[in-house]
């Protein structure tokens, strides 16, 4: 089924909106009334038709607008894309995985034709048509990860595996929840997870690392992460903090349900074949509190989770300023009914 791509913005006038279908397929992350970090990793297997888990890389109605927003961010700050020299095999691995997935899963929109090492890639929504030699960067307009990373929704980090750990040695990061690729590039697993409160003490990070070091080809895994963002803004980066940090002061009881968005990251990890690297995909979904509340079960659940949130996590996720307003607004929906376990909207 062909997707209808919207014209909308993720900055300035913020015309981003979710359709009713987009709300229904939102990957709501809370299956229980309380939240704490855990190794919530599961196999990234094919999910229900129409769900965000149906395909390895989810493309939705926001695809064209997101790619445009990414291009704006990259044009303003080239440092949002980085690749260390030893990651060239991983770059080609990424290009292959993304092109094959998109062409296979969305044939109305993407087409890949191979004639030996001569490949032709057609991206209809972005009006791209290129023929190139697989393995020869000089035949592409940009290096392979830069070229293809711009054509898939979500941020991507390529992890090199050595010395029993993972190094973030390449990345395209333009829709991040307040972390910096320029700061993290070249860091090891423990270095870049150092600031996460409580998780290290729980042993979560060491267990997750062991799990990922054993990640196998054709057996990708996924997890959900979340935070809250004022306005539907993709680029909440430290580099551009002056453009969005102050928005936290504009939230009040009247506008909280329009301004505050639950920001869910569908994080998936794939082992790459030639490089033995791992691609870490961070696919961002933004949903306003008002849209979430169209499903009472979600509104009640979100109220309970937020009401009992540990203060360290509220601070770490940058929600301290507006968090009481969120809990207060959500409380009107919560009748205390038993919701059972599960993330479904109804």
């Amino acid at each position: 089924m062909a997707l209808n791509f919207k014209q909308e913005s993720f900055r300035d006038d913020y015309t981003y909106k979710n359709s009713a279908e987009a709300i229904k397929r939102f990957p709501f992350p809370f299956a229980e009334d309380q939240y704490m970090y855990s190794v919530n990793i599961e196999p990234h297997t094919k999910g229900k038709e129409g769900s965000v888990y149906e395909f390895p890389f989810d493309i939705d109605e926001h695809y064209v607008a997101e790619c445009k927003d990414r291009a704006i961010t990259l044009a303003e700050d080239a440092g949002r894309y980085q690749a260390l020299p030893h990651m060239m095999d991983a770059q080609w691995d990424f290009l292959e995985l993304a092109m094959e997935s998109l062409a296979n899963d969305y044939p109305e929109h993407f087409k890949l034709t191979k004639d030996g090492s001569t490949w032709t890639w057609e991206n209809k929504p972005l009006e791209i048509l290129d023929t190139f030699t697989f393995g020869d960067s000089s035949t592409l307009p940009r290096e392979p990860f830069d070229y293809m990373g711009r054509q898939v929704q979500g941020d991507f980090v390529l992890l090199d595996q050595r010395d029993e750990t993972l190094y973030a040695d390449a990345g395209m990061v333009t829709c991040q929840a307040d972390w910096s690729l320029a700061f993290n590039v070249g860091m090891s697993w423990r270095e870049w997870h150092g600031p996460v409160p409580r998780a290290t003490e729980l042993g979560v990070m060491d267990r997750a690392l062991k799990y990922l070091l054993n990640l196998q080809l054709a057996n990708p895994v996924r997890r959900l992460n979340w935070t809250m963002t004022v306005n539907p803004r993709l680029d909440t980066s430290p580099e551009n903090y002056p453009h969005w940090g102050g928005d936290r002061n504009k939230v009040n009881a009247e506008n909280v349900s329009d301004l505050i968005h639950l920001r869910v990251e569908l994080q998936s990890l794939f082992r790459l074949p030639r490089s033995n690297a791992i691609v870490f995909s961070i696919r961002c979904y933004l949903m306003s509190l008002k849209d979430i509340a169209t499903y009472p079960r979600w509104a009640k659940r979100l109220h309970r989770v937020q009401k009992t949130m540990h203060p360290d996590l509220i601070e770490y996720k940058g929600m301290t300023k507006f968090h009481p307003l969120v809990v207060e607004w959500l409380s009107q929906f919560d009748d205390g009914a038993d919701l059972g376990i599960g993330t479904e909207p109804e």
């Binding site: 990793i41 030893h86 050595r162 010395d163 196998q216 074949p273 030639r274 033995n276």
Partner: protein
Amino acid sequence: MNMIDVRVAAIEQVTPLIKHFKFVKEDGSQLPAFSGGSHIVVALDAEGRTYRNPYSLMGSPTETDAYHISVRRQENSRGGSAYMHENVSVGMTLKITHPVNLFTLAKMAHKHVLIAGGIGITPFMSQIEDLNRLGADYELHYAFRSYKQAAFVEELQKACGNKLHCHSDSDGHRLDMEALLSNQPLGTHVYVCGPSPMVVAVLETAKNLGWPDSNVHNEQFLAPPVGESFKVQLAQSNLEVHVPAEMSMLEAIEAAGVQAEYLCRGGVCGRCELSVLECDGGLEHNDHFLTESEKASCKKIMPCVSRTKGKRLVLDL
């Protein structure tokens, strides 16, 4: 685990003890690309049991029309290598895993010293393809008893040129490990695959000479965690389950129709943890999840990888 169906396309007797097998995908499509040093696990159903043996992939990682492995007939084989030699013929179909790499090249090394003993040459045959393609600085030392027993010397000469150094015992050209490892530039990584005494010699020599651990690599084939067969009682289900030697406890529980939690099936995520109600005799904890004190307490077990040697095991399931 997703398995790949392959057909045996060719078999070649390379030396009196070594056979080279060529696999192609049964449906004629391309196999996955892989990285130098990768292995696959070949599953063989024979004589009422399943053998799962790991073999290094040889040949170019970018050539995905076929996979190549070599099998040396082991003298004290439990059956896997003998079965490959005697019963596997051209045209047969087998199941293999996707490639796994536990013997990767260090991409940031300034130089690579590869040391192979006998059939231990196989993982290097794909690694040299990567090294040649990347234009990396390397030397390959190949030690064997005699040229008659050495596989693939001609191919290696073609691929490596003067980077190949052969060491034949019968000609008295033994590899001098200390001389080799004493004179390497900073940033060199050394890799060894071969008989256990050779691996130990390289590791010890490197340690004595002050090589950092992170620059010394060896191939350790993962044997699947098999053990003795045993029986386990499931208290809630009121069932007794027989766990055969080559099956995990989790697989046996599932085969008995009992739903058990699981996620990674590799002993790290913690999801399949079960409470031990009664235990007579030792538990064999193979997981990385439980702490040492938890393992010692015999109160928890991870059925995906762990087993028992004891007489009685009762689980809260």
